[in-house]
């Protein structure tokens, strides 16, 4: 067990932090207010290799590791939840499944452009009728008569990066099968869809409570035709791919939650040292001190869980028998709930000013809530953890 970061990781943190402070923080308020996707930030991050942090350099990645990626999302989220989730969804939900399940041709076709930020990636699993219940998929993919193309029909909703992405990993029903006990169930497969594919379109921008600069929309497939080599992994592996992708994605979202909470603690420490009431800095009141002590402790615990999940995923890459599913679920469950609690307490410490948009903590509080919901609600994380514990 090693709690000391390597020199490279320390240097990465410093770089992420400088970048976040200088390039991301000044835009955070504006993109939230205007619900504007910060494309200029994506271009800057792409130059620095932040759109493909842990993929090998042969695929255009930066050649770092999953921990380096988690730290990037964390540092971005300290100042802007939106920017953090752009990187998280792109990396974990699109690059990762292509890297982990794609053929060499698919990897060479998509990863260099994705890792270099020329393309943005997204992931389509959730449907209006299939949220937490991923088996409820309605979108279908049927091989045409010539056996050359898949034809997709249906729609996906709440897709992060939806309106800006060029490449989508999409889950669809390809037939019927039976489970281990012989009960009938849907056969699900994963596909790579490009934004320019015929019959594919994006729906309207979803107005949200938080992470308002991120693009969230529906994906619509109306006889969408894609070549047969866009099948990702084997036919029928879609559910497994989706679940594994979400395991990885949860590390990204956990990192986002971690950063949001830590950012709120930093803001609260700064503010309470400046703000004077009853002739004292409010940091001199014991309530403030205890609140901040609790808040920081929670986030520190969250950091351990998140980093440990990232290290587990790295271990998994070397030895597939090591599962990081429960670690990712615990990290996301704890970090998300901690972030919601800590950002809410930060607003309280700021008082009336905290409720205004003059200070970033109200935005952090709105941004934090989603981390308890997307890529599996906290309830789903508990199900995953319980099932890993064999509690049935």
């Amino acid at each position: 067990m090693d709690f000391v970061l390597s020199k490279e990781h320390e240097m990465l943190r410093k770089m992420y932090r400088e970048f976040a402070e200088t390039e991301v923080k000044p835009l955070a308020e504006e993109i939230d207010e205007e619900e504007r996707f910060p494309m200029e930030t994506v271009e800057k991050m792409a130059k620095l290799g932040m759109m493909g942090i842990y993929f090998p350099q042969q695929y255009g990645g930066a050649g770092a590791d999953v921990l380096a990626y988690a730290m990037a999302v964390e540092e971005l989220a300290k100042v802007c939840g939106t920017t953090a989730v752009i990187v998280s969804a792109h990396t974990s939900l699109c690059c990762a499944p292509i890297f982990e399940h794609g053929t060499e041709e698919q990897k060479m076709k998509y990863l260099p452009k994705l890792c270099k930020g020329e393309w943005i990636g997204a992931f389509g699993l959730t449907e209006p009728g299939a949220g937490t219940d991923a088996q409820g998929q309605q979108t279908t993919a049927v091989l045409d008569e010539a056996g050359e193309n898949w034809i997709l029909n249906g729609s996906k909703c709440f897709i992060t990066n939806g309106n800006v992405a060029n490449v989508f990993v999409v889950i669809a029903v390809t037939g019927k099968t039976t489970d281990k006990k012989g009960r009938p169930m849907k056969e699900i497969s994963a596909f790579i869809v490009e934004g320019t594919d015929p019959g594919f379109s994006q729906g309207k921008h979803e107005k949200k409570m938080g992470i308002r600069g991120s693009s969230t929309c529906d994906l619509i497939f109306e006889d969408c035709v894609i070549p047969k080599d866009r099948l990702l992994g084997k036919k029928g592996e879609g559910f497994k791919i989706a679940m594994k992708t979400l395991d990885g994605g949860r590390i990204g979202i956990a990192s986002q939650a971690l950063g949001l909470g830590e950012g709120a603690v930093e803001e609260a420490i700064k503010y309470t040292k400046e703000r004077v009431q009853f002739g004292k800095r409010i940091s001199q009141f014991q309530n403030t001190q205890f609140q901040l002590a609790d808040m920081h402790t929670k986030m520190q615990a969250a950091q351990f869980l998140v980093y440990s999940a990232a290290l587990k995923k790295m271990e998994h890459a070397k030895n597939p028998k090591v599962s990081y599913s429960m670690d990712a679920a615990m990290a996301k469950l704890f970090a998300a709930e901690a972030a919601s609690d800590v950002t809410r307490r930060a607003v309280q410490l700021f008082g009336g000013y905290g409720y205004t948009r003059e200070y970033p903590v109200e935005r952090m509080m709105r941004d934090a809530k989603i981390t308890e919901i997307y890529e599996g609600t906290s309830e789903v994380q508990r199900m995953v953890i319980a099932s890993n514990l064999g509690v049935k």
């Binding site: 308020e29 400046e274 703000r275 003059e358 200070y359």
Partner: protein, 378 residues
């Protein structure tokens, strides 16, 4: 340079001031240095000489002498018309080697700070950069320390020797060059005990200019040493010299910021105009509080504070700004804060070094007038 033994200190006499001219016009700092040099030369009991380089610049000698120089050494050559490091360094070093001054002061302008280190390295001597105070006389130096340091009296009394190469050295005849370091958080007095000439660049605008003395100007002695300069020795060539007034620097880099707040509401345009006038007098830029930006009176790039820029200029003048915590967060580290506000309990006064309770529309025009006068009389 074999015969030039710069460690034989007694061979060196007189205080020199390098007098910088650009396109035949003397720099204001020349007069400050000549005035200060006069004081030092008197304390050492030697002559003060101005060192003037250029092409056809002899006529400037009288101006310099009028502020206190006994003698002006004029080095004229067509290749000295525009400043180049090569030509100026060569002529200065040649002249120093020949005439052996004990101290050489140079204005810390962009040119002075290019030239002086090159010369000091060639002459193998010490150079103190960007000094703000100079002394020879021990009693005045100690008085200076009493007023401008936190050193205890006992320490100040004991200043008098320095350890040089492991031996105590009496500094009473040394030029003591004081300069800020670490952005002014620390000050240091530097000496150059073993080599001559002792060199310093001096920050422009800090030392006091003496009154002009026509009798001195008329009595000027001009020395014109032979200038040996060949184009073949020059490795740099000036293609053009362009004069341009300083463009507005952004707030974070500004030395002086005059900010306006809600207090300008009764005449927004007039208030901003006043701020600009005051900023111009001090060579600064205009900033604002959030209120002015939100009201659309001024563009957002002017905003200082929590959601705007964090600044730490040398002078921050807050006009009609109440001083909400968000504003103070962005400016309270400024070196000198001056606040004008109608409300005597405005929180801005808590961080202000100087506060005036009054209507900015009445106070600022007076301030502009007085600042202008004060700067002109310096």
């Amino acid at each position: 340079m074999s015969e030039f033994k710069n460690t034989v200190l007694e061979d060196f006499k007189n205080v020199w001031v390098f007098c910088e001219q650009r396109q035949g016009v003397l720099m204001p700092t020349d007069f400050e240095l000549i005035s200060e040099g006069r004081k030092l030369a008197d304390e050492l009991g030697v002559k003060l000489c101005g060192l003037l380089l250029g092409d056809k610049v002899e006529h400037l000698a009288k101006d310099l002498a009028g502020y206190g120089a006994d003698e002006i050494i004029v080095c004229e050559h067509p290749l000295l018309k525009d400043y180049t490091t090569d030509a100026y360094a060569k002529v200065i070093c040649d002249t120093v080697v020949e005439m052996k001054p004990e101290a050489l002061l140079v204005g810390a302008t962009n040119i002075g700070r290019d030239l002086a280190p090159r010369c000091a390295a060639r002459l193998h001597t010490g150079l103190c950069a960007d000094c703000t105070h100079l002394d020879v006389e021990m009693s005045t130096y100690k008085d200076f320390l009493r007023e401008n340091s936190t050193l205890p009296e006992a320490r100040i009394e004991n200043v008098g020797t320095a350890m040089v190469l492991g031996k105590p050295h009496d500094v009473s005849k040394d030029l003591k060059m004081t300069r800020p370091a670490f952005g002014g958080h620390l000050m240091a007095s530097i000496i150059c005990p073993r080599f001559r000439p002792c060199m310093a660049t001096v920050r422009p605008g800090v030392l006091k200019k003496a009154p002009f003395d026509q009798a001195r100007a008329d009595a000027v002695v001009i020395t014109k040493p032979e200038v040996k300069l060949c184009e073949c020795e020059l490795k740099t060539k000036v293609l053009e010299v362009v004069k341009e007034s300083r463009k507005l620097v952004d707030l974070t880099g500004a030395e002086v910021i005059v900010s306006v707040g809600r207090g300008i509401s009764k005449d927004v345009e007039g208030g901003i105009k006043l701020a600009h006038e005051l900023a111009d007098v001090l060579g600064g830029v205009v900033g604002s509080s959030r209120a002015c930006v939100d009201s659309g009176w001024i563009t957002a790039d002017h905003q200082v504070g929590q959601t705007g820029k964090t600044v730490r200029p040398r002078i921050y003048i807050a006009l009609g700004i109440s001083g909400a915590i968000q504003h103070k967060a962005g400016m309270s580290d400024s070196e000198c804060i001056i606040a004008v506000n109608k409300n005597d309990s405005a929180p801005i006064f808590e961080v202000a070094d100087y506060g005036i309770v009054g209507d900015l529309f009445k106070v600022v025009p007076l301030m502009i007038e007085e600042f202008k006068a004060a700067i002109a009389n310096k």
